[in-house]
């Protein structure tokens, strides 16, 4: 339950950060979480899910106010692939940013920690 709370909170913070500051807020927030949450056993996993989830949430919001489906169809035609591929890429990219940032910062923290 606590982990779920962590996940939801981090997801919202990353989403808000992206909305206010842009894409680079994903690694910044996830990195901060990686530093802060070193005692969390699944901090890196949490960051990854939160990163992908945050952008998924923003995409859902876009879809609620605009023709995202039409946009995915358009991408499908433009890039000759399934329209959903770009949705998946978007979520996956945010997850990659978040997981790599969290793991990197967490790794530094651990290396710097006394043996």
């Amino acid at each position: 339950m606590k982990w779920l709370m962590h996940l939801a909170g981090l997801t919202l913070v990353i989403a808000a950060g992206t909305w206010i500051g842009g894409w680079w807020m994903v690694p910044v927030v996830a990195g901060a979480y990686g530093a802060w949450g070193t005692r969390q056993p699944a901090a890196v996993l949490t960051a990854m899910l939160a990163g992908g989830g945050a952008w998924g949430l923003l995409l859902a919001y876009d879809a609620s106010v605009g023709p995202v489906l039409r946009l995915t169809q358009l991408f499908g035609t433009m890039f000759r692939m399934s329209g959903m591929t770009l949705v998946i890429l978007t979520v996956a990219y945010a997850a990659l940013l978040a997981v790599s940032a969290a793991a990197f910062v967490r790794g530094i923290r651990r290396l710097m920690a006394p043996a």
Binding site: D62, V65, V68, R70, L71, T77, Y93, A94, L96, F104
Partner: protein, 842 residues
């Protein structure tokens, strides 16, 4: 145990380092992908960002129901109400406020289009899209359109009202840019990884210059040089005549109720002049890509851009009110070339029509008192002079009247996306204009589009005229591109005038030949006076029409206006429709706009049937020709989408043109010279034994009849081979369709395979790939409460996921017109789709 502990610690440390390195590498890679664009792939971070990136395009696809904001420079509030078709109706109290809001509103829907078109003129596309646009940029700069446009803008006095209004429009565009959020950035900028640039008032003049390029570019003399080399000057004069062989002029000739068809025999082709061919080929190469795009033919020398307009006097209208139809044809693109708008300042302006995004004018439209529209005159307003220079490679002087004159130099540096200079060119100018190099020859261009004239001011004022007469007076100052402006008013008058600057040439200068530039006597001496322009007002026949044909019968005025005129078959068809309907309704006007019949068929089908019948008697005919002729006898002559015979006729005409004009195919290293208009081919039909019928690739000597038989036979074989036996696969809708490409050519953003009632000689002529067509169709009834209907192939929004991107395409395809709302007050527009209120800054 004591020894294992350190080993475990070392292993843990190593694992931590490895994890760190791995995650660091992944992070660095992800950040690099996110921040750096690679070739055509934009930086992934800002691109995929669902809050500000490409996905945000969906959030901004539709206009908010209500919006209100403050912009600098307004004197009063301005109300903008969008009707159900997305047309903004702008209600302002001052003209300057109107222009400011106008700029804001157009930028809101079409920002990328505005910038792209401006850059195309300025030769700065490479700064936006990269080095792929280098050659287009170099060409644009060599043409000097931006140079000329800037001269026009700089010549407008700082204190003039017009300058103030154009500047207000520009400020409006920039006000929109200033309040834009990252989510508002148009789709294409995101694809290109580019950012919108600030707007400058002179860009309006760049766009007018672009229209001149499309409509006033005429380098007939360069293309014609190869014809002269191939068949001789006399034959070239006959094939590309200054006097069209079929006369159906815009200015009606009293007492004439049909076309005047010139008789006469075409001079035989002279032997090829191989020495001239090499020079001619370099001239033809110099005929630019712009020329090819605007005057692309259908294989029989037809111009694909074929606009139409006509007006009916109250005496021939069912409701007793003047009617006007506008049907300008241009290259079809998405977003569309036009943007529909209604502008109002009480007591001063109440104008509805279409505008070129970026230009604060309504070149085609109507107001409470009158309506106006245009077709291209196609007059020869560009001449080439062969110059003698002091140095072939790096000239500094040119010869004029025996003396050396200094050349003016213009240095043009094309930059890439990073700002790095990709190429620097020196453009040389004589007193006539910029020079181009064609092989070893230097040619200077004299072109009305580069003169210091002010079409923007004239067109803006004309849209406020209260009558046909007032409109014509204001337009007396109009220079370029020359247009057949057709007008009608609520007083019941209709009038047409081919308006523009038509050069008076001096000395031995001929518009259709390259002129000796060493003599100033060959320079232009001025322009035709407006009262000599082809014109007509309230003619006895009760209607007026134009379709790019030669505007004035040379028997009425032999003055040279141009050569190689588009064939008049569209004009003949319009006139026939109007002659046979003495109670024209607005709906009939609409129906005429997509009329699928061609007058051209009358010149070729009956002689072909006769030729096949005669050949059948003598046995000199194959079964394919007999079968083909039989199938065409079943044809109703209509190019409707479901027609299954039009394809056979179309291929027959292609075969006939190719076989007849084989003399215009030179040596293998010379590109085929342009082919004459189908009106010349129709003229040639009168001379059955002309040497032009002879196909040089055969031993026999062909005549008209044998070529007709061969053409229909070959056409049947080709069509059957490609589409199988006669049946549904011959359907015209599967063969000749309209293509509307996106301005950047991005797949998915354009629309293809749109069935159209288009064919050779129909009101909507076809050029094979169908990328040109009716860019705006409208009908106006000049009743006391003006009523109007219209549509264009696209929609108001430039956002490709907006409903308003292509919502008019179905009505355009079906030949329907939407009712145009023309409210007198903002309050009259019930339930608007969206409203925008602009307030002055506090």
């Amino acid at each position: 145990m004591n020894e294992r502990a350190p080993i475990s610690a070392v292993l843990t440390r190593a694992s931590q380092v490895a994890t760190l390195l791995l995650s660091g590498a992944a992070l660095a890679g992800a950040l690099y992908l996110g921040a750096v664009s690679m070739g055509r792939v934009p930086a992934v971070g800002p691109f995929l960002d669902p809050a500000h990136g490409i996905w945000a395009v969906a959030r901004t696809a539709e206009l908010p129901r209500e919006a209100s904001l403050r912009i600098a420079g307004l004197k009063d509030s301005v109300a903008v109400k969008y009707d159900e078709r997305g047309v903004p109706h702008i209600f302002a109290q001052h003209e300057e406020d109107l222009m400011r809001a106008f700029g804001f509103v157009v930028a809101r829907d079409r920002l990328f289009q505005m910038e792209l078109q401006t850059r195309a003129v300025a030769g700065t596309l490479s700064e936006m899209v990269g080095a792929t646009a280098l050659e287009a940029d170099r060409e644009a700069r060599a043409q000097g359109l931006a140079w000329g446009a800037l001269r026009k803008w700089n010549a407008i006095p700082d204190t003039s009202e017009h300058r103030r209004l154009v500047t207000a429009y520009s400020d409006g565009v920039n006000a929109y840019l200033a309040q834009m959020t990252a989510a508002d950035v148009p789709f294409e900028y995101r694809l290109l990884g580019a950012k919108p640039q600030a707007w400058k008032p002179e860009y309006t003049y760049y766009l007018l210059a672009r229209m001149s390029l499309t409509l006033a570019w005429n380098d007939e003399e360069l293309r014609r040089a190869s014809v002269e080399a191939l068949v001789g000057e006399r034959a070239a004069d006959a094939l590309f005549p200054a006097e069209a062989p079929i006369q159906e002029p815009i200015q009606p000739v009293a007492g004439r109720r049909g076309p005047r068809i010139a008789g006469g025999v075409l001079p035989p082709p002279a032997p090829h002049d191989t020495a001239r061919l090499a020079i001619a080929e370099s001239f033809q190469r110099a005929a630019t890509s712009a020329t090819l795009s605007t005057r692309r033919g259908d294989g029989n020398g037809e111009v694909a851009v074929g606009s139409n307009n006509w007006a009916v006097a109250p005496t021939r209208a069912a409701a007793g009110r003047a009617l006007l139809s506008g049907d300008p044809h241009l290259q079809l693109t998405l977003p569309s070339i036009w943007y529909e708008v209604h502008l109002q300042v009480p007591g001063l302006i109440d104008t509805y029509g279409v505008t070129i995004p970026g230009g604060p004018i309504v070149p085609i439209g109507f107001n409470r008192a009158m309506a106006w529209t245009a077709t291209n005159t196609g007059a020869d307003v560009l001449d080439y002079y062969e110059e003698t220079v002091d140095d072939r490679r790096h000239p500094t002087r040119y010869q004029l009247d025996g003396a050396w004159k200094p050349l003016e130099l213009r240095i043009e540096a094309v930059r890439g996306r990073s700002g790095r200079v990709l190429r620097t060119d020196t453009i040389y100018h004589t007193h006539r204009g910029p020079m181009i190099r064609a092989g070893g020859t230097w040619l200077s261009r004299r072109w009305t589009a580069l003169d210091v004239t002010d079409e923007g001011r004239v067109l803006r004022l004309a849209s406020q005229a209260r009558s046909v007469d007032e409109w014509m007076t204001v337009m007396g100052d109009y220079a370029v591109p020359a247009q057949n402006f057709l007008t009608a008013d609520t007083l019941g008058h209709i009038a047409i005038r081919s308006t523009g600057h038509y050069p008076v040439r001096g000395g031995a200068a001929r518009g259709d030949r390259i002129t000796d530039g060493t003599k100033s006597a060959n320079d232009w001496r001025g322009f035709w006076p407006p009262d000599r322009y082809p014109h007509a007002k309230d003619p006895a026949q009760g209607f007026l029409a134009s379709a790019n044909q030669q505007p004035k019968d040379p028997q009425v005025d032999p003055g040279y206006l141009g050569s190689n005129w588009p064939a008049p078959f569209r004009a003949m068809r319009i006139n026939r429709l109007l002659r046979t309907d003495s109670a024209v309704t607005p709906d009939a006007m609409r129906r005429f706009q997509t009329d699928p019949t061609s007058e051209l068929t009358e010149f070729f089908l009956p002689p072909m049937f006769d030729a096949v019948a005669r050949a059948s008697v003598t046995g000199a005919v194959d079964t394919a020709a007999v079968r083909g002729a039989a199938l065409l006898r079943e044809w109703d002559g209509r190019f409707t989408p479901d027609n299954e015979r039009a394809v056979l006729y179309d291929v027959m005409m292609e075969e006939l043109g190719r076989r007849t004009w084989d003399e215009l195919r030179g040596a293998t290293n010379v590109r085929r010279a342009p082919t004459p208009s189908s009106a010349v081919l129709a003229q040639l039909m009168q001379d059955g034994d002309s040497p032009w019928w002879d196909d040089r690739s055969t031993q026999a000597r062909e005549t008209r009849d044998s070529l007709l038989v061969a053409s229909i036979g070959a056409a049947y074989r080709r069509v059957a081979q490609r589409y199988g036996p006669p049946g549904p696969r011959w359907r015209w809708s599967g063969i000749r369709t309209a293509t509307i490409n996106h301005m950047l050519g991005v797949p998915g953003l354009g629309r293809t395979r749109i069935p159209m009632p288009s064919g050779r000689g129909t009101l909507s002529p076809s050029d094979g790939n169908g990328s040109h067509g009716a860019s705006w169709r409208f009908v106006v009834e000049l009743s006391p409460d003006v009523r109007a209907w219209g549509t264009y192939p696209g929609g108001q929004s430039g956002n490709p996921v907006s409903e308003r991107y292509d919502d008019r395409l179905p009505s355009w395809t079906a030949g329907r017109l939407d009712t145009l709302r023309f409210p007198r007050r903002a309050a009259d527009l019930a339930s608007p789709r969206a409203t925008l209120t602009l307030h002055p800054e506090r």
